[in-house]
Symmetry: C2
DNA sequence: TTGTACGCGTTATCAT
DNA sequence: ATGATAACGCGTACAA
């Protein structure tokens, strides 16, 4: 039946229909003032009638930009990142940009493959949720990327995050207010900036009560949180509370406690981080530090798109976090 | 410092360096046989030395394709979709395609805005995780899209999914094997094909024990599952088990039971669907039907890319599911 | 206010 | 086996 695949129409077609040149159509469509009310109306009518849309690939070639941004993240299946992406996508789409997702799976190879996308002109800007700048992107100007959540160490990339140090102090301070002194900490991967910031907050809040034997590191998985907690419960001097660097590890800690016959919060108070959707539904509902993930994504996109348009990169600003107290503490 | 923003090099530059014409470079890079060992080596050396990569935008304009596919989904923050996207991305990247993510948020407006991307030439193909074909895409050939998880009603779009009817029968059959007869069902949004398939399986398994008062519908959220279950526990004749159409609603059902002082699985056996990462970590760990999400994504991408390359669309094949028995039943 | 014509970086056709 | 060159569809000097 549809013998002739309706041959997508081009600007020439619209021009012919409206009885003007392509230049005029182009101007009209890009909102130039250099076009009379009258002809503009005719052109718009023609566009309406045909359902014409500009070919972004051709426009991109001409303008040397693609109106696409790439989000690089370690694990899209993680609910934390998902919600951030939602915010990015919201703002990007609002400004007429498309969003590409690249999963690194924490593998440098995948990272490199993705970075190549950047070189091919398929992408104008980059949002980094990986906590580091891929090696291949060494020569891409900082004004074309923005980092979310994790500050990127060695350079001038704009960053959107909360004040992790303050959030950790607040969480641990809350536990101390409950009377806890032997408070453990399960952090993210060691050596990472984010991990260091939260650890420092924990340490500062603990002050003289700080005990290095109560600090472990995981990889943000439930299993790693459980393993870390088991390790500490095996020791003679057990903690009475634990501050975890994400909600998954907090769940792991609770499972470990349970395995030892320890009740939560009676025998062990637990605080997580992020407030993923499941945190409030767990049993017991998790006390946790909420990050404004959606808002972080939106802001990151806004900063990046502004930078692409030539604006200065803003000084890093921390978004507000919120300690959500539930029944695990 | 870097005064001259290193002006991305083009094929011409490589050609000059290798002492050949652009045509030859293009041929060499696309693996044509029409190029001698010798010159190919020289070209490869030049590429290596400069780090040149083909400009996909320009190639796309010439070839009339973008090597990008768009994944449309209702909610990227949902772990089910996240894992499917992972599979899609894996296969796509393997074949040199980029993946764009479009979040509809179940809003027709967003859907339309996304669909426009398709018309602009920015995208070659489409993966639908939304359970329906957007209105705007009425004239896009079915060979340029593939649906995952939910069969799309009215037409010939290729679909990748499990056998939902069989899976429901298996889940409910398992409960019946445990001696349950008053088995409730909390389904997804009413009117949706997927919901109907699982309901039908439930009904078939229940046979003469089927009782329409034990069927409710939710929106896949924890809250909706909880509300649905509360409704049934309020009634005189309570169910002794419930089969839920996803894990979130199963968690909601457990919370409702708890609020009524009913233990799980002692007072109420619960089965979920999907086996999201949290299912095994919940208390009690959830019995659930596992869908091979990653594999579904990979297969969908493979089918789509094959179709874009001209292959026939395969007949719908169901991927294997797996009833994972844990402690909630 | 509008039109003409060139170029964005590739690939494919046609010569050679 | 290689080279010259015409598209691909659009935006924008420049001319009118």
């Amino acid at each position: 039946m549809d013998q002739t695949p309706p041959a997508r129409l081009k600007m020439t077609d619209v021009a012919r229909l409206a009885g003007v040149s392509v230049a005029t159509v182009s101007r009209a469509l890009s909102g130039s003032v250099l076009v009379s009310q009258d002809t503009r109306a005719r052109i718009e009518a023609a566009v309406e009638a045909t359902g014409y849309v500009v070919n972004q690939v051709a426009a991109g070639l001409r303008l040397q930009r693609s109106r696409q941004i790439l989000v690089m993240l370690p694990d899209i299946a993680n609910p934390f990142f998902g919600e951030v992406v939602l915010g990015i996508e919201e703002e990007a789409q609002h400004q007429g940009f498309g969003v590409l997702i690249g999963n690194t799976g924490r593998s440098p190879d995948r990272e490199a493959a993705l970075a190549r996308q950047f070189q091919t002109g398929a992408v104008d800007g980059l949002v980094l949720l990986t906590g580091r700048r891929p090696a291949l992107l060494a020569d891409v100007p900082a004004s074309r990327m923005v980092a979310v959540s994790e500050h990127i160490a060695d350079d001038s990339i704009a960053t959107v995050s909360i004040d992790n140090h303050a959030a950790a102090i607040e969480a641990v301070g809350y536990l101390r207010g409950l009377g806890h002194r032997r408070i453990a900490h399960i952090g993210g991967p060691a050596g990472n900036v984010l991990t260091a910031q939260r650890f420092q907050g924990y340490r500062d809040a603990q002050g003289g009560d700080f005990d290095p034997r109560l600090v472990r590191y995981g990889d943000y998985s439930i299993a790693s949180g459980e393993a870390a907690m088991r390790g500490m419960l095996d020791e003679a001097a057990r903690p009475t509370a634990v501050f975890c660097s994400n909600d998954e590890m907090a769940v792991g800690a609770i499972r470990a406690a349970r395995a030892f016959g320890i009740g939560v919060p009676a025998g062990l108070a637990v605080i997580g981080f992020d407030d993923i959707p499941f945190a409030g539904a767990y049993d017991p509902p998790l006390t946790t530090v909420r990050q404004p993930r959606r808002q972080m994504g939106r802001l990151a996109a806004r900063i990046l798109l502004a930078a692409l348009a030539g604006d200065e990169l803003p000084a890093p600003t921390a978004l507000p976090h919120l300690l959500v107290v539930r029944q695990s503490s």
